[in-house]
């Protein structure tokens, strides 16, 4: 993707969270400035006109790897006043799926546009699924790896394998549905701008289609979900892809949730609802109880916009494979599987944890079922719900998806810490998942778009490297290549036969 304009986009806060903290014992320090003189990264500063040296800017420190360096400040301090310690913030950040390293790593990539190496930036600590699946690369120098070394590598993905308009994306991922109301207009604009710059798409979610997104129409997907909030013929006609959302991975079997606190007058206007009221979308579409009904719904979209692709977003029920086949016969071009550990602006905790299966199991199930039906090459399979890194994305593709959808990762790139507080009061205290007029000012459109472009660029670069190490020249070659993967997890206890 030549020409993806990466540019440095640092954190919008003065204190970036870091792994290490440079500690200065002020009772020992004599403010001699030796540290400031040696550190090439500007952690220490001895400002003219001040009596004392500044507090160390830990965010600039490169951490423990500096120990080997000639310019390691700790070794240069004549008073032994400096030390590197693990920052208490670092210990508090993150959870099992989004570990502190994944959050900080995503931030760093969004800041610099450079992929980070090392397993801690590739997997989380959930103990299953993607966190236990690894690529098995052919050895360097072998025919399998280097046989086609000169050929260019493509990450482009064609989204329509049936008749109708051709729509392709430059990278095999696009942005998931996030409604106006769950996130701010600024965030929607930043995502749209990044999608345009990267030759991919982003999705409006179920909350209307703000006019401000007009200039990005060619890169927007609009969602038609069970609440039909803000859906009109005009919004369906504006886009190249319409997503029929039957279910969402974070709350399968339940409709969208937008709690009253976040239903501001603007949100209410867009959704044609009353400000301050909880907006719970119904579940399911009460007009769809069979594949025939589903077909009618797709026909309805086609009638309004014959040029749009139809994507069907479903969650990972036991019979998701049959639903996928049904969707094919109903006429959809894209089946979008949203796994049970997907993101959300608000969902009951019982649903997030317990309903439907993780995406890792659903992808090969659907892939195999479509193959057996002889229609795999006619249907585009998109996976989402727990894709945190480009490695997850590549693993999902190797398990049988054509591409992936990302949501939480984009928000993390914009500075989300996953504090799980998007749902109530004024919404996100970091200004992302909020429509509070004051809080949403914390994010600027251009800065946000740049962070996303940087992340996409880092992902694309890493993806090219993965393909290259596998000896592949196009992302489509990776689809369903289980043999490239190894499973390193423990098998759960075999059987449940109770012998007592």
């Amino acid at each position: 993707m030549a020409g993806l304009a990466v540019s440095y986009a640092p954190s919008r806060f003065p204190n970036e969270l870091t792994e290490v903290e440079v500690k200065r014992d002020t009772s020992r320090c004599i403010s001699c400035g030796s540290c400031a003189a040696v550190c090439p990264f500007g952690v220490h500063e001895r400002r003219a006109g001040f009596n004392r040296i500044s507090k160390p800017a830990s965010a600039r420190c490169i951490g423990a790897s500096c120990e080997e360096m000639a310019f390691y400040c700790v070794n240069h301090c004549p008073r032994k006043a400096l030390s590197l310690v693990e920052s208490p913030q670092y210990r508090t950040l993150g959870d099992r799926r989004w570990t502190r390293d994944l959050i900080l790593g995503t931030w760093k990539q969004a800041e610099t546009g450079i992929p980070l190496k090392g397993r801690r930036y590739e997997i989380g600590d959930s103990g299953g699924g993607f966190d236990c699946i690894f690529f098995h690369f052919p050895k360097e120098g072998t025919e399998a790896r280097s046989g086609r070394a000169g050929e260019p590598i493509s990450t482009e993905l064609e989204l329509n394998r049936r008749t109708g308009p051709q729509v392709s994306i430059k990278v095999p991922f696009y942005g998931g549905g996030m409604s106006f109301g769950s996130v701010s207009l600024t965030v929607m604009l930043a995502r749209a701008k990044a999608a345009k710059a990267c030759g991919t798409f982003t999705c409006t979610g179920e909350g209307g289609y703000p006019d401000a997104l007009k200039e990005y129409d060619a890169h927007m997907i609009t969602q038609v979900a069970t609440g039909l909030f803000g859906v009109s013929e005009e919004t369906i006609q504006r886009v190249k892809i319409v997503e029929l959302k039957y279910a969402q991975g974070a709350k399968p079997g339940l409709g969208g949730h937008l709690l009253g606190d976040k239903v501001t007058p603007e949100v209410a206007r867009m959704r044609e609802a009353v400000p301050g009221n909880n907006l719970f979308s119904p579940f399911p579409f009460h007009s769809v109880y069979s594949i025939e009904d589903h077909e009618k719904q797709i026909d309805w979209i086609r009638e309004i916009n014959p040029d749009a692709l139809v994507s069907v977003k479903v969650s990972t029920a036991r019979d998701v494979d049959m639903v996928a086949v049904g969707s094919y016969y109903a006429g959809a071009q894209i089946i979008h599987l949203d796994g049970s550990y997907g993101g959300t602006g608000a969902a009951p905790e019982i649903a997030k944890k317990n309903i439907a299966m993780p995406i890792e199991y659903a992808i090969p199930k659907v892939h195999e079922f479509l193959k057996a039906e002889g229609i795999r090459d006619k249907m585009t399979v998109i996976a989402s719900g727990g894709i945190r890194t480009v490695h997850d994305a590549a693993k999902a593709i190797a398990l049988g998806a054509d591409g992936v959808v990302i949501g939480t990762t984009e928000l993390v790139a914009l500075g989300c810490v996953r504090c799980n507080s998007c749902e109530s009061s004024r919404g996100c205290p970091r200004g992302i998942a909020t429509t509070d007029p004051e809080l949403s000012k914390l994010v600027e459109v251009d800065w946000g778009a740049q962070r996303l472009i940087n992340l996409y660029a880092a992902w694309q670069q890493e993806l090219v490297e993965i393909l290259s190490r596998l000896g592949m020249r196009g992302i489509e070659e990776l689809v369903g290549r289980y043999e490239c993967l190894r499973y390193a997890g423990q098998s759960p206890a075999k059987g449940t036969e109770v012998r007592i």
Partner: protein
């Protein structure tokens, strides 16, 4: 259509100072009292001192939600955030701080816990965490239960249900139809593992009666109390001499399993044929054999109980079974014996969250009996002090009875609503249909076996 059941929630604030998840530290030597944290925090953690606004007050970290904004905005980098020790000390590795905190929240508000961002926990885990529940989309209907748009029944029956009726030549029913009890939710209150003070039991009894469910109480306690159809006496193996006269009119009793139980069952049935008899069996050694004995002995209810962590109490193998697996085995056994509808299966031990009720029923239970969550709802910290002879630090014994009852009612209202979410997502209109419906459950070991093992046949790394 029977009357629709709903539980009215009245918020019942906590008595004790809330325990926050985080601790915010402010380094006094670095802070310049600029007040930027006051503006940054949307939860009111930071404020200026009332008596001296030139300085900042101690952070009110119980309000902190861990957004890190003050930390990142402080111009002097003077703030730190850590998990609070008090929070981390709550409970243990099974009854985690998260479980205790969410139980408190539900007991206080009666609300279904809702939060933003995706699930952050482990992929799967032992016991109930090794399964997921199914949902319906497109090809199967769902039910919109939680917001009251469609009624989903959570009523269950206790007692023997005949699989078929018999008729005489004139078409009149000749079968004797056994009595059954119907309770409006598949949750009953178990005997307590500790903390059985008078006020606690009063609060529970009051809640049980309000909710119209049952409460198991020790015989001695039952004898002390005024007659109440919601109280079920539990008769331990030490109390083999039954107060037969008291059983007249008692709808249900529970006996602890021992070898003489079949004799006692017969004796009770002679005196009071209407009384439903439950037998409490440890989830453990020789459970199948004992169930055969209970079934043939004439009791109608099996109460299978595991330890507080949902495990087989005294495991012989050293690798204890989880309640979930034993429920599945017992359910299948009852199906094989062709008596599944003639027996009611109550389970207890390790039922810590609403999801565990749904999953236990999905595995084959009819009813869950809960114990420790009741005490936690009353603000127990599960500190284990009682088990070392120390007095209760939250003074459970002094609680206000109506307040305590309301906390229990709120908790069960929240649990019932979560059960409705699960049932609705599966498209079930009543909880009776959920029982043993393993075709609508997703077990981790099955997915692994059928899904991953063929894919990764080349072996593990």
């Amino acid at each position: 259509m029977p009357k629709k059941y709903s539980i009215e929630v009245i918020p019942a604030a906590s008595r004790a100072k809330p325990i926050g998840k985080y601790r915010i530290g402010r380094a006094a030597e670095d802070c310049i009292s600029c007040g930027r944290c006051v503006n940054a925090c949307v939860y009111g953690v930071h404020a200026r001192r009332e008596e001296d606004p030139r300085h900042l007050a101690e952070p009110l970290d119980q309000h902190c939600k861990g957004c890190f904004r003050c930390i990142q905005e402080c111009p002097r980098n003077a703030l730190t955030i850590q998990y609070s020790d008090e929070y981390l000390r709550l409970g243990d590795s099974y009854w985690t701080p998260e479980i205790i905190a969410t139980t408190w929240y539900q007991a206080e508000t009666g609300k279904v816990p809702v939060s933003g961002a995706g699930y952050g926990g482990p992929f799967s885990g032992p016991g109930f965490d090794a399964m997921w529940t199914d949902m319906s989309e497109i090809v199967r209907p769902t039910r919109d239960g939680i917001h009251g748009r469609e009624y989903i029944s959570t009523a269950v029956d206790i007692g023997r249900k005949l699989s078929a009726l018999t008729f005489d030549a004139r078409g009149s029913i000749t079968s004797t139809i056994p009595t059954t009890l119907t309770i409006p939710l598949p949750i009953i209150l178990n005997t307590l593992p500790f903390g059985r003070s008078e006020r606690v039991l009063d609060a529970l009894a009051r809640a049980a009666s309000h909710l119209d469910t049952l409460m198991l109480v020790d015989l001695e306690e039952w004898l002390r109390r005024a007659p109440d159809a919601h109280l079920v006496p539990f008769i331990s193996r030490e109390e083999q001499r039954l107060p037969h006269d008291l059983l007249q009119g008692c709808p249900m009793i529970e006996l602890e399993y021992h070898s003489a139980v079949p004799e006692i069952v017969k004796a009770v049935k002679r005196e009071s044929p209407e009384t439903i008899i439950s037998v409490r069996l440890p989830c453990g050694e020789r459970v199948r054999e004992r169930i055969d004995a209970v079934v043939s002995g004439g009791a109608e209810v099996i109460h299978l109980h595991a330890d507080l962590n949902g495990q087989e109490a005294r495991s012989v193998s050293g690798n204890p079974y989880h309640l979930k697996d034993v429920i599945r085995a017992v359910h299948s056994q009852l199906v094989d014996l062709k008596v599944r509808d003639e027996m009611t299966l109550v389970v207890s031990g390790g039922i810590a969250l609403a999801e565990h009720v749904a999953k236990a029923i999905l595995c084959g239970a009819d009813i869950a009996a809960i114990d420790l969550p009741l005490l936690i709802a009353l603000e127990c910290h599960d500190c284990k002090d009682d088990r070392t002879g120390l007095s209760c630090s939250t003074s459970l014994e002094d609680l206000d009875v109506p307040w305590g009852a309301q906390r229990i009612i709120n908790l069960l209202a929240a649990w019932r609503n979560q059960l409705l979410e699960v049932l609705g997502a599966m498209g079930l209109r009543e909880v009776r249909r959920l029982r043993g419906e393993v075709g609508r459950a997703i077990f981790a070991e099955e997915l692994q076996r059928e899904g991953f093992e063929p894919l990764f046949a080349q072996g593990v790394m």
